[in-house]
């Protein structure tokens, strides 16, 4: 288990939902660093460090991206498309986290190489369990390719 905390990029327009995820991660066994952006445009700005977006010094390239599907400005699908077609970011696991369960959305997500598609649980316990499992899976069990590109800085 790596000692360095993992960086999670959360793209979520609903402040309340972002708060829920933040709290859950704090309760989680795994230490992680959460970066929250409110829409798709910000997410890309963050990744590409543009439009005057300057992340804090300690913030690195995300190890995993939690992406809401229905976002203002750029939708989750558009963000996913951009990430997965860019050689720089396409290896970052993108986990879709949304209230939608529409088949068309799921199909579109996987068509653009989403790594997982999760539906937001309706209560705290399930939410917690889900995030716990998610962290265990992606941070403990899963192996990543060695990134020669290194960090974002």
């Amino acid at each position: 288990m790596k000692s360095e905390p993992r960086v999670i990029l959360l793209v979520e327009d609903e402040e309340a939902h972002a708060e829920i995820i933040r709290r859950n991660l704090e309760d989680c066994d795994f230490t992680s660093h959460l970066v929250h952006v409110e829409d798709g445009q910000f997410a890309l700005d963050y990744l590409y460090q543009r439009n005057g977006f300057r992340p804090p010094a300690e913030v690195r390239r995300p190890d995993i991206i939690l992406l809401d599907w229905n976002l203002p400005k750029l939708s989750g699908l558009e963000v996913l498309k951009t990430i997965k077609t860019d050689p720089l970011f396409k290896r970052i696991p993108v986990i879709i986290l949304t209230t939608s369960s529409a088949e068309a959305d799921i199909a579109a997500a996987y068509a653009y190489h989403a790594n997982s598609f999760l539906m937001k649980p309706m209560d705290y316990a399930h939410f917690h369990q889900m995030l716990e499992t998610l962290c265990a899976y992606w941070f403990a069990w899963n192996h990543y390719p060695i990134e020669s590109e290194g960090s974002m800085s």
């Binding site: 402040e15 939902h17 829920i20 445009q41 937001k120 705290y124």
Partner: protein
């Protein structure tokens, strides 16, 4: 009528031809027989006269020669006799003989005497005494038997005698002559027998013949010992010798006849069995008879041959002519018989044709009495021959045929013309039926009408069928006329032959522009190709259903659905197809609308499920947190949690309100009225006056007196939302301006609301009309406004779009509404 005429003519012709044929044969035979008889008689006569003349000629010839030969023989004999007499009268001889008689030893004298015999050209000589003793001789042989007879005769006082029967010695035939030698005083002194060789004298004479006949034979015969004796050799047939004999019983032999005393011509059979002509003449003062004969063949053969040839030629010619004529006649006869047979067959055929004719045939006499009906007549009417023969056809009258029609019928017939028409007649069982009739008068030789022939056809079924067809046609036409579709008859190349439209206004062009032309050429490329493909499919499978094509017409796009079916194939024509084009524009529009509505509903449901679920997740989760935080006595967190819950609940309430409002406008236009654009704008400006003044926005509105048609309240909502939205996104524009305007695009009015605010990233333009979609999550509003605007405009039949040249360049919403008009128009 033609049939009967033909029969009559045929019979007459047959009679004529058969009688002329008989007399011809008779005359021919008589002439032939007479000719033959004449020829035969002529031939016989000719033959007879020819033969007779030949006989006559031949007879003359042989009789003359016989006479000559007889004279010669006679002369030979008499010379012989004379020379013998002379010898005996010779004084030397007399003297010598007397000396010898007196002195028989006078041998020298004897020798001299005998020497003188030879000198006197006799062959031999015997000198005998009166007592018959031999005094001397030249030969050692004794005196012949016949000579002895003659000696006796001479001694008895006869003159010198020539023997008739010759003697043969060796190869020579001799004839003896006996003479008495007297003394000077005429006293018998001795008897002298002299022998003469006939070989040198007689036979050459006999064998000589001056003519050309090959079978001529001269025979010297005499009677001897009851037989006919041939002195000379019969030379015609080899193997005969001198002195042959034939019995007198063979009376057919000319020689026997001669011996029996016949003199002159005799026609008989000779020793060879050949028919011969002979001439018999006795040689005077002798027993000899000369018979000269010649074969009949020798002088008749030519004649016979010629005659035979003539007979053969003539007979052959006659036979040839007879056979030729006979052959010709037979051929003629067989030809006649054949044509007569054929005519008979024809007549039989015609009678069968009449009897078995599928038409009703009726023959009446001049007065109208029925003489004949055929089978079909009985079959149709039920009347048998027994029922109708002798009766008038009016028994069929039903009363349905008009009196005028009958009058016309009789007038026509009496004028000698053929009448044609229809009867509505009555059968035996009372049933009515229709018949089509043709009645023709038949004329006798005197030119007067003798019969009427009526040929009729039962057309009841046809009448009914025709009515049914008319009905069906009417029905068909009615069906066609009530069909809204266009019908075309086309061939495989899509050439249009016929069309049907219930109403010619449904045709887009005048028929003359497409009749006879190919759909491929008449229609625009794409519809043409669709029609052509459908026709090809129908050609392959029999029908084609469901092809759809779109025609851009002045009234807008029109959609047509095609059904093509192959028409029944007609002989000598390329396959034709029935092409039915149904205008499905309204259906198509409805379908498209339905598709749109469905998509909208789907979007709606999606939105609802997503956007209503989202606050629920928040509420549920934070209730857990709230519980936990309250248990942990974390007062600050409890407040926080409760705020989250509250804001989520508020969001949900707002969204539910929005949905309600959307559904309210979404269903229908509540009321429709004419609204002046200025009125709407003015009302809206009142409603948004607060925001406008606080942001110091300059609002420019068009002065066009445009009339909108629809729900005024909803129009107000549209403009209010658009202005709201514009104000919201004015950004940090120092001199904000909102423009409400109208422009004419392609003759239609287009309205727009334009601002000079922060604008929208073109990437985001697509989703700004989405329900609960907010470009700025933190911005005020429910995210419903633009969705509502779009819905209202679309419900009114209009269309809205948004454009922005990017951030900082403002946004323009353009929309159309149907029926926007200038007020004064």
């Amino acid at each position: 009528m033609r049939i009967l005429d033909f029969g009559k003519h045929l019979q007459e012709w047959r009679q004529r031809s058969s009688s002329s044929n008989g007399s011809f044969l008779f005359y021919f035979t008589v002439v032939f027989v007479l000719l033959s008889v004449l020829l035969i008689l002529g031939g016989v006569h000719f033959y007879h006269s020819e033969i007779e003349s030949r006989y006559h000629t031949q007879l003359q010839k042989i009789s003359a020669i016989t006479d000559m030969k007889v004279a010669s023989i006679q002369e030979m004999r008499s010379r012989f006799l004379v020379s013998a007499g002379n010898f005996a009268e010779n004084p030397f001889v007399m003297d010598a003989v007397s000396q010898v008689v007196q002195n028989p030893t006078q041998d020298i004298l004897k020798d001299k005497l005998m020497e003188s015999v030879w000198h006197s050209s006799f062959s031999d000589g015997w000198l005998l005494g009166l007592n018959g003793e031999l005094l001397t001789s030249t030969s050692k042989d004794p005196v012949s038997h016949t000579a002895k007879q003659a000696i006796a005769d001479v001694l008895a006082g006869a003159s010198p005698k020539l023997c008739d029967l010759p003697t043969m010695e060796g190869n020579h035939i001799y004839l003896d002559v006996v003479a008495m030698i007297y003394t000077k005083d005429r006293k018998p002194l001795a008897v002298l027998v002299l022998r003469m060789d006939l070989n040198d004298r007689l036979f050459p004479l006999l064998d000589f013949w001056p003519g050309a006949e090959r079978t001529i034979e001269s025979l010297v015969v005499m009677r001897d010992k009851g037989q006919a004796l041939f002195i000379n050799k019969r030379t015609i047939q080899p193997g005969h010798d001198f002195f042959e004999r034939e019995p007198l019983t063979k009376t057919h032999l000319p020689a026997v006849q001669a011996v029996l005393g016949k003199v002159g011509a005799y026609y008989g059979i000779d020793y060879r069995g050949f028919p011969v002509l002979s001439y018999i003449k006795p040689i005077p003062s002798s027993a000899w008879i000369l018979v000269v004969k010649v074969d009949e063949d020798d002088f008749l053969a030519d004649s016979r041959k010629e005659t035979l040839l003539l007979i053969v030629i003539l007979g052959g010619s006659i036979l040839l002519i007879a056979f030729g004529l006979n052959w010709l006649h037979r051929k003629l006869l067989s030809g006649l018989a054949k044509s007569a047979e054929e005519a008979k067959k024809k007549l039989l055929q015609f009678s069968v044709v009449v009897e078995e004719n599928p038409a009703l045939i009726l023959i009446t006499n001049r007065t109208g009495a029925i003489e004949y009906i055929n089978k079909k007549f009985t079959e149709v009417t039920g009347y048998t021959q027994e029922d109708v023969i002798g009766k008038n056809p009016r028994i069929l009258k039903s009363g349905e045929t008009s009196r005028a029609e009958y009058t016309r019928l009789w007038k026509t017939l009496q004028a000698g013309e053929t009448w044609q028409g229809e009867f509505h007649n009555c059968k035996k069982n009372g049933e009515l039926y229709w018949e089509s009739a043709m009645i023709t008068p038949i004329f006798g030789d005197d030119g007067k009408i003798t019969h009427f022939v009526s040929v009729k056809e039962d057309i009841t079924m046809r009448k009914l069928d025709a009515l049914a067809i008319v009905d069906a046609n009417n029905q068909y036409q009615t069906i066609l006329d009530t069909m809204p579709d266009l019908l075309f008859e086309v061939d495989q190349e899509s050439r249009i032959y016929q069309y049907h439209s219930h109403d010619d206004t449904s045709l887009l062009v005048h028929p003359e522009h497409f009749l006879g032309k190919k759909m491929l050429d008449v229609l625009p490329p794409e519809p043409g190709a669709v029609c052509f493909a459908a026709i090809q499919e129908a050609a392959a499978k029999g029908k084609s259903i469901g092809g759809v094509y779109c025609l851009p017409l002045p009234k807008g796009k029109c959609w047509f659905e095609l059904s093509v079916a192959a028409l029944p194939v007609q002989e000598g024509r390329t396959p034709h197809f029935l092409l039915l084009a149904r205008d499905i524009t309204s259906r198509k529009i409805a379908e498209d609308e339905l598709v749109m509505k469905n998509a909208e509903i789907e979007r709606f449901i999606y939105t609802v499920s997503h956007d209503l679920k989202s606050p629920l997740v928040t509420i549920q989760t934070f209730l857990n947190y709230l519980e936990r935080d309250r248990n942990a006595q974390k007062e600050a967190d409890v407040v926080k949690d409760m705020n989250f819950i509250r804001s989520a609940a508020e969001k949900m309430a707002a969204r539910l309100d929005g949905l309600l409002e959307l559904s309210r406008v979404g269903h229908q236009v509540n009321k429709e009225e004419k609204v002046l654009l200025q009125d709407i704008v003015n009302e809206v400006l009142v409603l948004v006056a607060g925001q406008i003044t606080s942001r110091k926005v300059e609002v420019i509105s068009t002065q066009e007196p445009l009339l909108l048609y629809g729900d005024k309240g909803q129009f107000v909502e549209v403009f209010q939302n658009l202005v709201d939205n514009a104000v919201k996104f004015l950004g940090d524009q120092p001199s904000p301006r909102i423009e409400i305007g109208a422009v004419r695009v392609n003759g239609d009015w287009e309205l727009f609301v334009r601002d000079n605010g922060s604008g929208i990233d073109p990437n985001h333009l697509g989703k700004i009309f989405g329900l609960f979609h907010k470009l700025e999550p933190k911005s005020a509003g429910s995210g419903l406004g633009l969705a509502l605007v779009k819905r209202i405009i679309e419900v009114h039949g209009g269309h809205i779009q948004v454009e922005s040249e990017g951030l900082g360049h403002g946004v323009t919403f353009r929309f159309t509404l149907p029926n926007i008009k200038r007020q004064n128009q």
